[in-house]
């Protein structure tokens, strides 16, 4: 039979019709779609038992409670705890949710590394943990035998909790007082508490119960203190028709949501606060019950503000009209539970002592200290009942040499740590610091004038980094002893960040360590044991876990179950009095008078720099120890970062006067550095001001983060607060030239 073309077509048609009458096409379609979901490169978590671990996020000072879902030994999802709402507001921020990218990301240090310089090139060579610890021990023993234990310092991201305290203990037993923690607004708050209330502690902000928030540049909607808690508090405040006042030079998210936005000249917050205090006092609107019963120095405080901070004078400094200052001040005083909040941006940089004292004085004048909805005095956490360290002669002499950063000395009596002073000291007299141990921080990126910090680091003969990530600082290190990341380890993290309920978060291992890393606590203990003698004796624990379990004692079972411990204690009451000699809160005395009378720290000047560069914080970027994970970078607007290019935002008016249109390339020059940027016109930026976010421009990390935008810390110098010595830099003079 001959197969004609027609017959063939007919055969095919018959076949097609028949096929359609079988399950074949439908079944195949379905199967192929499932098959396509199972391609080997499609990421699918392995099957296994699902588990949920309650833990604590360590990525910012809020220390939110988190629940991590694991499938087999893989973490697949981080969620904020809800029940924990009192503590952190519940939920987790973008960074907290992206934590898995830090755990599984490519920038982790795989194991202990040693820096090798060969023919001018530098590389890191993997070594064993034994060798790593031995090298640290050998170096420390050598310096000690030379009688120079004080030349070893530690720079740490935090100073509360067992791990930082183990570090402090190691240095103490060894003979060095140089435990330096990274700066934050807590430093300024702590000094203020010491000076006015005689208390060692931190300030809790009862944002849940206030009806009027007066924020001096705090990024309440962009990650200040405890981000979720603050956002929810602002939401509640708005719903209940409370008032939010934001004093900030830029139309930030918080300013945009505020009822009153006071667009003040950068750096004039203290003057504004004292100007408001003047109005409240002169109109007799202060809370006389509280002031009379619980404060001292009111009259001289009143005289001081009357003399120096009349609204007209303040208007000139701040750029806010006198009537607006007066109205806002009176509205603040007229509210039932007003609260003034201090700390610019996320609160990760200190402010001047004058500023924090002025803002706390406002709270005191309206009676909002230790009252519902006010600023609470929270005592420091003291649950570490470790035996005292026995000091041998070398240790005693070393410690007697004092601190390299001068904190606590006669010159800077009010503060505990001055990281930028440590850098200055290294810069000024190389050799004084022979060895630096860096833990859980990235000073070469996040301290102002980061180029200077890097240069100072070059002068340190021996640097040990304990970083989990190959960050800017780790790259400068001679040895890297990588710590587990927070999802792989136990650690206690006492919560400050404005909490009103003392809470200790417990970080728990969610997965077993993925890489050849070691818990920082174990590294410290091993170093101590290697140094023998009294130093080893100060560490009677088998390992870090046993130290932690012993320290937390009875609380351990509860904490490991729910991931935190929170005290029942209600907010403290002013009836209990203060720990000053008179039992009252000091509004003014000799010391405070000098601070109030001093001028606010000014930006470093030099050359002709007509503009001011002001950094801001965004919840979409991290600016501290950990780098911004890829998830977050994706959320940054393309008027801030486009491809690799970073933008500087300025008022269209400023742009016009400089001949710079939106999108133009320009060179941004400050007294400490320069960078090439793109211009973005933004009406929300004050004329004469340049605005840039913190958190970009990393030189380390992976292609998701490195070389994207500009590190503003490279452009900003330190600005020392004369009263405290803290680096209260809030900006710098700058100029912008068309490229």
């Amino acid at each position: 039979m001959k197969l004609s073309r027609r017959c063939f077509l007919s055969f095919v048609l018959g076949g097609a019709a028949g096929t359609a009458l079988t399950p074949l096409p439908w079944k195949l379609t379905d199967d192929l779609s499932i098959w396509s979901q199972n391609w080997p490169w499609t990421p699918v978590p392995p099957d296994g038992a699902t588990n949920f671990v309650n833990s604590t996020c360590e990525l910012c000072p809020a220390h939110c409670g988190i629940t991590v879902r694991t499938v087999a030994d893989r973490a697949v999802k981080i969620e904020g705890q809800e029940e924990n709402a009192n503590k952190t507001g519940g939920g987790a921020c973008l960074l907290g949710l992206s934590g898995l990218q830090l755990l599984y990301g490519p920038t982790r240090v795989q194991g202990p590394l040693k820096r090798i310089e060969e023919n001018g090139t530098i590389r890191f060579q993997p070594i064993s943990w034994q060798q790593a610890i031995d090298e640290v021990v050998a170096k420390m023993a050598e310096l000690r035998s030379q009688g120079k234990p004080q030349s070893v310092a530690c720079l740490s991201g935090r100073d509360v909790g067992t791990v930082p305290q183990l570090f402090k203990r190691l240095l103490k037993a060894y003979g060095s007082a140089n435990f330096v923690s990274m700066p934050s607004v807590e430093d300024a708050y702590a000094s203020a508490l010491r000076l006015t209330q005689g208390i060692d502690g931190f300030v809790g902000l009862d944002v849940e119960n206030t009806d009027f928030i007066l924020s001096f540049g705090s990024a309440l909607l962009d990650g200040y203190g405890s981000p979720q808690r603050m956002m929810q508090a602002v939401g509640r405040l708005k719903k209940q028709r409370g008032t939010l006042v934001q004093a900030e030079s830029r139309l930030s998210n918080t300013a945009a949501k505020a009822d009153i936005w006071l667009a003040i000249k950068p750096g004039s917050e203290a003057a504004l606060a004292l100007g408001m205090a003047q109005v409240i006092i002169s109109r007799g609107r202060y809370n006389s019950d509280f002031v009379n019963a619980h404060t001292e120095g009111f009259d001289s405080f009143a005289a001081m503000v009357k003399e120096k901070y009349a609204p007209s004078a303040v208007a000139e400094v701040t750029g806010i009209a006198p009537e607006v200052i007066a109205q806002t001040a009176l509205a603040f005083a007229g509210a039932k539970n007003p609260l003034a909040i201090c700390g610019r941006g996320k609160g990760q940089t200190p402010v001047s002592l004058k500023e924090v004292l002025a803002i706390q004085a406002l709270n005191a004048l309206v009676g909002s200290i230790n009252r519902k909805g006010g600023a609470q005095t929270m005592p420091t956490y003291d649950y570490l009942n470790w035996p005292a360290v026995e000091l041998d002669v070398t240790a005693q002499t070393g410690i007697a040499k004092g601190r390299l950063d001068g904190a606590g000395s006669d010159k800077y009596p009010h503060v505990g740590s001055l990281a930028h002073r440590l850098i200055e000291a290294i810069d000024a007299s190389a050799g004084e610091l022979q060895m630096l141990l860096v833990a859980e921080c990235n000073p070469c990126y996040s301290l102002p004038d980061s180029d200077k910090v890097k240069a100072a680091f070059e002068k340190i003969p021996f640097i040990v980094s304990f970083s989990s990530f190959m960050d800017e600082t780790a790259r400068q290190a001679d040895l890297i002893l990588p710590n587990h990341v927070y999802l792989e380890r136990y650690e206690d993290v006492p919560v400050m960040a404005g909490t009103v309920q003392p809470t200790i978060g417990l970080c728990q291992p969610v997965v077993s360590p993925l890489l050849n890393t070691q818990h920082l606590g174990d590294s410290i203990i091993k170093i101590a044991l290697g140094l023998q003698g009294n130093i080893a004796k100060a560490f009677p624990w088998k390992n870090y876990e046993s130290c932690l379990m012993e320290t937390l004692g009875d609380q351990w079972p509860l904490m490991s179950d729910q991931g935190y411990w929170a005290s029942e204690a209600a907010a403290s009451s002013s009836e209990r009095g203060f720990s000053t000699a008179s039992g009252k809160l000091i509004l003014m005395n000799g010391t405070l008078g000098a601070i109030f009378m001093a001028e606010a720290p000014v930006t470093a000047s030099g050359g002709d720099y007509p503009l001011q560069l002001i950094p801001y914080d965004s919840i979409r970027l991290t600016s501290g120890y950990v780098g911004t994970p890829p998830f977050m970078i994706k959320t940054v607007e393309d008027t801030v970062l486009k491809g690799q290019e970073g933008f500087v935002a300025l008022n269209p008016e400023t742009g016009k006067s400089l001949g710079l249109a939106s999108g133009d390339m320009a060179t941004l020059i400050t007294p400490v550095g320069q960078a090439s940027v793109r211009v973005h016109h933004d009406d929300g930026v004050m004329p004469g001001v340049l605005s840039m976010p913190r958190g970009l421009g990393h030189s380390a990390y992976d292609s998701f983060l490195a070389a994207k935008g500009v590190n503003i810390n490279q452009l900003i110098g330190t600005m020392e607060d004369p009263a405290s010595g803290l680096d209260a830099a809030w900006g710098i003079r700058a100029k912008l030239v068309k490229a």
Binding site: S4, G14, A16, A17, T22, P23
Partner: protein
Amino acid sequence: MSSNDHVNTHGTAGEPDPSSHHAPGSFPHILLFFIIGLALSLVVGWGIFPKLLYSQKSQPFGFSHKVHLEQVDQGCQSCHFFREDGTFSGSPRLAQCLECHEEMQGQSEDEAIFVKEYASKGREVPWLVYARQPDCVFFSHTAHVLGAKMDCVTCHGHIGTSDSLKPYEENRITGYSRDIWGPSLTGLKHNSWDRMKMDDCAECHAKYDVLHDSSVQTKRDACFVCHK
């Protein structure tokens, strides 16, 4: 049809071929080929394709649910239990089996294999799971068994009283068990447990739409209820 076709099919003479009534190109002839195509594809689609699609695998060793069910006092949940946190344990892990089978309990050959190959070596038994769904499906036993009080039989059939494990038919394309699509390739079913595709879940979810109304738009369950 092009002019070429015209020329070819009708020959050069333009007259019918005298040798046959069913000349190639005539209607019955064309129909015949249509029928052959139809018949062949039906044979392939109904007969050969299903045979090719599934490979037969046997479980590591035989297992009688019936025997086990008689020995335990908490029904299916004795071995397929809910963890303390509410999650479902699924197929028992070695640890659960060892609670009874550290040593031989009977004389069966299957148990001997288990003890020798798995229990004594601490190896997990690589059970082939008939009910395993693709990864895109999120299913909570807690919601169904503890929440909606459904019994195991509704979805799993009478496996609990079966004396042996049937062969595991693995779909060569997807790697999942035949039980998901169901024994009949037509997709028809006689029992609620015969197949467990999306429509089968949806059937029940639609029936109880008062409870299942997570989508604001449709007042039915939203996609994300099962597809996370």
